[in-house]
Amino acid sequence: MRRTISFFLNGSEVNVTLKDHMRLIDCLRETLNLTGTKEGCGEGECGACTVLVDGQAVNSCLYPAPEAEGKNVLTIEGLQGSENRLSFIQKAFVELGAIQCGFCTPGMILATKALLDSNPDPSDQDIRAALQGNLCRCTGYVQIVEAVKQAAENMRGPE
């Protein structure tokens, strides 16, 4: 079955026609050509596909696309600072070497955004707990935790 749904994607309303069995990640990557969201495991284990739905981090590989109707979806493409610059989280990840191959990065950054939106001053432990569902095969996580702390500082202080 096909259906047309509308939802808010990165701040703007979109109308998409999709097949009933599509997952949100299929709708984003294949229907809307937003390939910033990555698919790793496809079963909720790796977090590469993380997006925010109504501000909450979810795995888009487990999220039925028809459920996005009327929701607010944020993907990595929607995360920009002013004047098309990198957002403060992205900047911190670049500056602290928290990105190597980059495959986990969009998911890491969105999971970080969800964390900082609810907890602007997270401890190391809070950061590790919030990113437990995001695997990285390259960095060893130390730089990522540092980057999240830096991002939190940037967010609290003047950008």
Partner: protein, 284 residues
Amino acid sequence: MSRFSYHKPKTIDDALQLKNEKRGAVYIAGGTDVIVQIKNQELRPSALISLRNIPGLAHIEVNGGARIGALATISDIIQHPTLAQAFPLLMEAARRIGSVQIRNVATIGGNLCNCSPCADMALPLLVLEAKVRLRTSETTREVPVEDFFKGPGESCLLSDEIMTDILLDAPDVNTIAVFMKKGRVKMDLAVASVAVLLDMEGDLCRKAHIAAGSVAPVPRRLREVEEKLEGTILSEQTISEAQKIAKSSVVPITDIRSTEDYRREIVGVFVKRSLERALEWSHK
């Protein structure tokens, strides 16, 4: 992904009707079990009937006891302002489930209805002697969680029946609660887990409720251990006896996550550590 139609009923009655009309239809809540099962071709539904858009099914109400809507997510449970205070065990178990991303969509009802031997929310509900409310178009019934599980992947749910609520009586004031879980890595399904609820008077154990997961076809109470403990003074010796009984009374399996022997060992150790911790607390 196999093909299926997707339905978003707005009332329980519409959901029940769809389930009866569509052969091969399956209910979906958070989908964290269903979607994975479809991907792995363990499940090939012709239709998914979503319970997510039915108003009120995710509601949590605390008034001495509690009524938790089956569609409440694990995050809803963790973030509820008063639930954790009344039922700290629920909170302990909820916090150990999956990752943030999983907890934000996974529901307590889905955790129970999926009927995995390692369903983490089952353990606090078993020791708290919770009931689940089940509805068809004609009937509503309340079933103790203990009688809900029939086997791996099998419950007492009728084919169209929907779980609407989880019901908890007001907790006893003097109980001590401990939850322990071992996964291979932190966000993993349990290799084994244990929940313990004790009513202590000094070192005397007046009442003991102990449940274990991943060590039998369904999450279940360890009655033999409970009987051994009730009415006895907790000491190094009684705790070590309880550990032995726990080890010998469970029937775990070997699978990709762990071995039978290791699970047996872990359950014994968890029972021992929980009792030791309870004893420590009762002295405070």
